[in-house]
Amino acid sequence: MNPADRALEDLFQEVGPERAPSHLHARILAQLADKAEIRTVPAPLLARWQWILIGLAAMGSILLAVMLPGNGSSTGWIALLMDHLPDMTSISSTLRTTLIGGAVISGILYVLDAQLNTRVRPTHG
């Protein structure tokens, strides 16, 4: 460092930094508290493709429950489809309840996840 550089550095160091007004610190903190919200979006419970699978399974379950023997409404192509499915007459009542229950629970979980996914949590930086 040459003498001119040294002299200037000594002067800058001697004079030091500007003194910020005492209220500035509090003002900045207050402003940060008011305005500096960090939007954090929590990760969804399940990935989108998982929800699509669950949705398809739920729809299939409902469809299956409606088409099970004993319903009395299976006609046309549905009846044709039912002819190719395994005979589940003996467990149809229990299975129907289970499938419908599963579909309802899937729906509830989907709504819950959608809520969590759009949730915004304000935090102060």
Partner: protein, 159 residues
């Protein structure tokens, strides 16, 4: 230290305070852009520098007319005796004769002891431009300081 940067560029308490506030808000909001490639202080100074320079450009025309009416701030009296407050006034006066960019560069270099590379990061200027600004500012400041401070240290001249 952020306030020093904004004040040296804007030379006005109120503007410096507002620029300092803006700096911290921008820093918080843009924290995710800090990649760790430099020191955090350098990154923060770059936010302060850009904020203050932007503000100074907006009111540059206004400043010129004010300077003409009121004279430049911090001009030391002819009775300067070399006390710390005199030296402070002399330094402020010398800085006020530089452009805002030059004042920031010399402050980064001599007060914050930043290297040329760090100043490049903080200001976005090229390395050669920073060196030119430092050389030019040093020469100009020494001439001004020599006029106002009667100490032997200011008999030094830049080549």
């Amino acid at each position: 230290m952020v306030y020093t940067v904004t004040h040296r560029i804007l030379r006005n308490d109120m503007d410096a305070e507002e620029a300092t506030q803006d700096t911290f808000l921008k820093a918080i909001r843009g924290l995710h852009t800090f990649q760790g490639g430099s020191r955090f202080s350098t990154w923060l100074y770059s936010v302060a520098y850009r904020t203050a320079i932007s503000r100074s450009r907006l009111r540059r025309t206004e400043d010129r007319s004010l300077d003409e009416v009121e004279g430049r701030p911090g001009e030391p009296g002819s009775e300067a005796q070399g006390t710390t407050s005199d030296r402070r006034r002399a330094l402020e006066h010398a800085l006020s004769r530089l452009t805002p960019e030059d004042a920031a560069v010399v402050t980064f270099h001599y007060l914050h002891e930043m290297s040329v590379d760090e100043i490049v990061t903080a200001t976005g200027l090229s390395a050669s431009n920073v060196k030119v600004k430092l050389h030019r500012s040093r020469k100009k400041m020494l001439e001004i300081l020599q006029e106002h401070l009667k100490e032997e240290v200011w008999t030094l001249r830049t080549e």
